[in-house]
Symmetry: C2
Subunit: 375 residues, 2 copies
Amino acid sequence: MMTASNAPVRQSSVRAHNLALVLQTVANSADPISRASVAGATGLTRATVSALVDDLIAGALLGEVDPAPRSGAGRPAAGLRPSADGPAGLGLEINVDYRAACVVDLTGTVRHHLVEAGDQRAPGSLDGLTRLAARALRLAGAEGLTVAGAALAVPGLVSAGGVVRVAPNLGWQDVTVGSQLHGLPLIVDNEANLAALSELGTGDLPPSFVYISGEIGIGAGIVLNGALYRGVRGWSGEIGHIPIDSSGPLCRCGARGCLEQYAGQEAMLGAAGVTSVESLAGADLTVAGTALGTAIATVVNLLDVDTVVLGGIYAPLLPGLHDAIGAEIARRVLTAGWSPVRLRAATLGPDAAVRGAAGAVLRGVLDDPAAYLAR
Amino acid sequence: MMTASNAPVRQSSVRAHNLALVLQTVANSADPISRASVAGATGLTRATVSALVDDLIAGALLGEVDPAPRSGAGRPAAGLRPSADGPAGLGLEINVDYRAACVVDLTGTVRHHLVEAGDQRAPGSLDGLTRLAARALRLAGAEGLTVAGAALAVPGLVSAGGVVRVAPNLGWQDVTVGSQLHGLPLIVDNEANLAALSELGTGDLPPSFVYISGEIGIGAGIVLNGALYRGVRGWSGEIGHIPIDSSGPLCRCGARGCLEQYAGQEAMLGAAGVTSVESLAGADLTVAGTALGTAIATVVNLLDVDTVVLGGIYAPLLPGLHDAIGAEIARRVLTAGWSPVRLRAATLGPDAAVRGAAGAVLRGVLDDPAAYLAR
DNA sequence: TCAAATAATTCAACCAATAAACAAATCGGT
DNA sequence: ACCGATTTGTTTATTGGTTGAATTATTTGA
């Protein structure tokens, strides 16, 4: 049920909304699309679409391409598609053993991708990230891109205002990153959240799903109706400490039998008696899969999503995990009989979080192009 | 992050939105409120508010009351408040041992409340409910109320189109209730969902919370940002089978150690060695409280809500449950140290679901008064 | 070469909100 | 008792934005 937002609507809001509608219709179309088709798809008139498209082209959000060869009579349509020379998003990531930046344009193309390996737990890693961001911005500027904003993916809990409450594996506690970077607005968010957005952006996922990221810790990004659900304070998706067995092994969080004790990277390596994630491919993953399945069943019972995407180390290991997860889902999800739960491996690999960060910036432009045009 | 809806916006949508904004501002105000105050609160101009209020008064959604005695200079304001003679919602409930109907007007007053005790598992209980609804409609009609729609609360899983997939305690399976009743649009929904909406309507809850209903089964209603989250297929909140201990007792669902085996009504009665819910008040509820706390911790870790409302049999038992739940939350909710989880007893008692059903209808009117006016 | 078809633009009409002026009703002070 | 200040509510001209119909543009098919 939709509650009306508590802001008044004026004529300019109408235009803002319809600009977003037209831009998104073009962005979601696989092929270049005509103004007339946009009008048909949106319900707006051709006159209105033309006027809106004029603004979007003037602002370099859309570009026109040569008419696609068509069959049938009639004037050929000019194709519209997102412009590659307009706004771009700067995605940043800081993780235990590397930092990364990438620049993505409105077409979804990764224009630049910089990675610096090295332990980020040392002090000064944030300064290093700032320098990396500056390099990426120079590269983008040299190509004539307008960077609309930046987003940083962090493996930890983030509060409003760019404060990292805790990032256990980085050793961070109450680190203020801020909400500006080189004069750009900066979003700071959990890596699983941004990776989930990234997978959403691939287009072949339903509007509601849960992304589970297996790393040293386990996190989840919850996407409901096409939007990331961040929770009241931005701390949603802390799935790693779902209890699997209250008489299980003691976890570093102080409780017993948390998911991480069965399906965390360390636990899986220990159980299989190997030291590298690659070696897990041949191992018996039943214990981890069962625990993961139990946790997934809980999530599905609670949120009624029908798709779960497994990312991080789980993505390559899904074949070995699949049966155990599926068995647990069949046993514990009440509605599994009517409607199966789809399990998918993430498609984007380790870049998902940085790309999702850049995508979050672009999503902001797509959601409110009028604000970008008025900048 | 808000995704633009895929519908075009025209001038009439602006009016529809602002009508809703004005109506909700008046409805959310404790005392009668002037047009000028509405203008101040909404950001609309006084002229616009006046025009919108004219429509709302003409449609019997708002009424004017005598100016409240005021201090200070200036022309006295005419007070606006929701009309008691306008639209009303028909709430219906069917449960194991009773059926109920209630009529609630826009001021939130319960105008009629009919309850028929008796076993509803017998065939024909739906016909009985239809007759009960007819009685309530006659009473409402005699008072000049315009019943805008009906909603039915069912203790089970409901699909779109008014199909009850399964209601275990009613013995229902794939029962089609339909989406019309006596010519009115009919919403069918889970009782925990509607009870959650009902608690939301009391006004002293934050916009995001989880309502947990303890009955024979355990259900949850999830309210996010002031709106009920129903899930992809309407089956969200199935909390009763969250695993507490995978080596625990066998549950009727086929899995082991489900929450219901510790904190369900039967389990609690069995553990305390009593036969009535009233007798539980003095019993030791540590086991149930711990299990409930574990489940709540899972929900909070996942959804990051800071308020949990306990309803059904849990409401009167909260004093006995509180400490065990709190201990488990402190142990398992990662963010409990920064921001406490508030536990509340539901305030509305056993009527919550029926009243929530009526409230769901009224919420539809408040969310889109233009549709009601155009009927 | 012309008619039909489809795409895109132009323009008058309309709808809704705004701003500013105006009318209404009260209070406070002299 | 009266006048100015103050606040509420309405009236009116203006503006922004969509619509629908007419118009122009460009192609296919007969």
